[in-house]
């Protein structure tokens, strides 16, 4: 029995159409026109306890709608969902007791108070017994290194400090499932690494199931064995990162460090996509030309100091998936 089960989930929203101008606004008050938006259109997946899932997609693809349904906030039109064996929207209170949610953009801490006071209020809201509360809090405080921050009013914390306190706040009731909505957004590099490391340990050491939605592909690459890509309300892909790459493009990159500055390489099966004085990046299709063969040809013809083959960065894969093609990658369409 999976811990989270989603079958044919459908959710539509009615969005009021706004009319232009002051007169339009008046008319709109009296008679509204709506258009229907399908946020989720038959989404199905399941998760076992202890999985760590990257749930990605462009803005408006239905990511947060899914999370809201899984946590019992929203009621869908159709479909079956079971979280810990219960239908979340029918058992909101029981469901939310077992889940933690962190929104990167919004804190759940009380703005004018020290974090420790928010923690104590959350203890009472979730009815966590004092001894258990103390144990969990001490562990989280140590893992997240927030001891020196606890007595500072939250409004005076930096974003990175606040995020660490928010993570602790979401876990005080020891939830078995954690939803993270862009937990690293706006954070500096050090804080990002700290947050990632914490998520990794939480998942690995305590077996907490994690669903992570993010636009930061480094988060995904660092943390997620499994990704679900959602696009226009449907699941575009459910698999590993490598599956995702394979689905979008077979392309590989060949990076060549030259002996002489401004050298050139030409090969019928590879195309230069960027050049520095001493480094060229080429792309090729491994089904058209085997990497070993390409390398052999190039090293035979040119003076090479070093070279290596790599996958295109995951950002580019995602960007291409969403059709947000950057100018430098425009021509790559022919490979897909």
């Amino acid at each position: 029995m999976p811990q989270i089960l989603v079958e044919n989930l459908v959710k539509t929203f009615r969005v009021a159409r706004r009319r232009a101008g002051a007169l339009g606004a008046l008319v709109g008050l009296a008679r509204r026109e709506y258009r229907t938006v399908r946020a989720l259109d038959g989404v199905s997946f399941s998760m076992e306890e202890g999985e760590l899932l990257g749930y990605i997609g462009p803005n408006g693809a239905g990511k947060s709608t899914t999370v809201k349904i899984l946590s019992g906030i929203l009621v869908p039109e159709a479909g079956r969902v079971e979280v810990l064996g219960k239908t979340p929207w029918k058992h909101r209170i029981e469901t939310v007791r077992n889940i933690g949610v962190v929104f990167g953009q919004r804190t759940q801490l009380w703005w004018d108070l020290p974090a420790v006071e928010s923690f104590e209020l959350l203890r009472d809201i979730y009815r966590v017994p004092q001894s258990e509360y103390e144990r969990t809090r001490d562990e989280l405080v140590e893992l997240l290194q927030i001891e020196p921050l606890l007595d500072t009013p939250v409004r005076q914390l930096s974003l990175g400090q606040r995020m660490r306190c928010d993570l602790a706040a979401a876990l005080l009731h020891s939830p078995r499932i954690l939803y993270l909505d862009e937990p690293t957004i706006g954070l500096d590099a050090v804080s990002k690494l700290a947050v990632r490391e914490f998520i990794r340990r939480l998942n690995r050491d305590r077996g907490v199931t994690v669903i992570l939605t993010t636009h930061d592909m480094d988060d995904i690459e660092a943390l997620c064995r499994r990704v679900i890509v959602i696009h226009e309300g449907g699941i575009f892909l459910d698999g590993t990162l490598d599956d995702l790459r394979a689905r979008v493009t077979r392309e590989r990159r060949l990076i060549v460090d030259l002996v002489h500055e401004n050298g050139h390489i030409s090969d019928p099966d590879a195309e230069i996509i960027s050049r520095d004085p001493r480094r060229l990046t080429l792309r090729f299709d491994p089904q058209r030309v085997a990497p070993a063969k390409l390398i052999a040809r190039i090293t035979a013809k040119h003076e090479i100091r070093d070279l290596f083959v790599e996958n295109p960065p995951i950002e580019e894969i995602i960007a291409r998936l969403y059709g947000e093609k950057k100018p430098s990658t425009m021509a790559l369409g022919s490979y897909t």
């Binding site: 008050l29 946590s71 929203l74 909101r92 029981e94 939310v96 209020l121 009472d124």
Partner: protein, 267 residues
């Protein structure tokens, strides 16, 4: 921890938050006092010019005024979370409340206890005691209890109005000002005796938004005056404030409908 104790914990936090801005609290309290005082001056000027209002004297109107404003100050102080609820809907903060294993009404109600309403409360009490003094109200256990009941009923009624205003946010966060017609407009209406209004207006403020039940009717009983205009019985006058409590309980049920609507439509 049960709901009542949790509520008190929340209110403690709200008070500590407000006490971080002491100067702001003092200024707001003073302005709240004077805003109400200006209303008093307006009514005084009216009576100074015209003497009486269909046989009602200034001090009698002062009694209505005192009851309504004390009740409103209390309802306002406790109902602030509902009054400001549109922000929570607009910025998605309501989702956070749904993510916690507690009733949403409790969490909204517990959001804030607005201390600076003490200004309005003080002004209301001053007018109330002045009026009672001028009118030679005999403070017996009965009249004291009835005055407290009227204030309690009034506070719950205003509270209910803010709950309804918040519930409206589940459908639209625009044109909420319409509720001001019932809250602030209603309060100003209830500062004057019901008998001076037209019948449909009286009925509206007795049966729909029952502000007359927490000011006009109990005030008559406190004054020991007969209701010559409307002919209400003494028993009704004494029981009337209970309708304010009923109004709040109904509002909280309507709130649940609003929450259900929100969860099925989202926004």
């Amino acid at each position: 921890m049960n709901a009542a104790r949790l509520y008190i914990r929340y209110i403690g936090i709200s008070i500590r938050s407000q006490m971080q801005y002491r100067a702001s609290f003092v200024m707001l309290s003073i302005s709240s006092f004077f805003a109400t005082a200006i209303d008093v001056v307006g009514i005084w000027a009216l009576f100074e010019r015209f003497g009486t209002l269909r046989g009602w004297r200034l001090a009698e109107v002062g009694l209505f005024f005192g009851l309504v404003n004390v009740a409103m100050a209390i309802g306002d102080a406790f109902g602030r979370g509902f009054d400001q609820f549109y922000r929570k809907v607009r910025d998605g903060g309501f989702d956070r409340l749904l993510l916690r294993p507690r009733s949403t009404a409790l969490q909204v109600a517990a959001q804030e206890l607005t201390l600076f309403r003490i200004g309005k409360l003080t002004q209301g009490l001053i007018v109330l005691f002045w009026a009672a003094g001028v009118l030679n109200v005999t403070w017996t256990a009965g009249t004291i209890l009835l005055a407290l009941f009227a204030i309690f009923g009034g506070a719950t009624l205003f509270y209910g109005l803010w709950v309804l205003q918040a519930t409206l946010c589940f459908w639209t966060v625009e044109s909420l000002e319409i509720m001001n017609a019932f809250t602030y407009g209603g309060a100003e209406t209830a500062e004057f005796p019901l008998s001076i209004y037209r019948p449909w207006f009286r009925r509206f403020f007795t049966f729909v938004v029952p502000l007359a039940c927490v000011s006009y009717f109990p005030a008559l009983a406190i004054l020991g005056k007969e209701d010559s205009a409307l002919g209400s019985s003494r028993g009704f006058q004494q029981a009337a404030p209970g309708i304010g409590v009923v109004f709040m309980l109904i509002s909280l049920q309507v709130w649940k409908i609003g929450v259900r609507h929100y969860r099925s439509t989202g926004s």
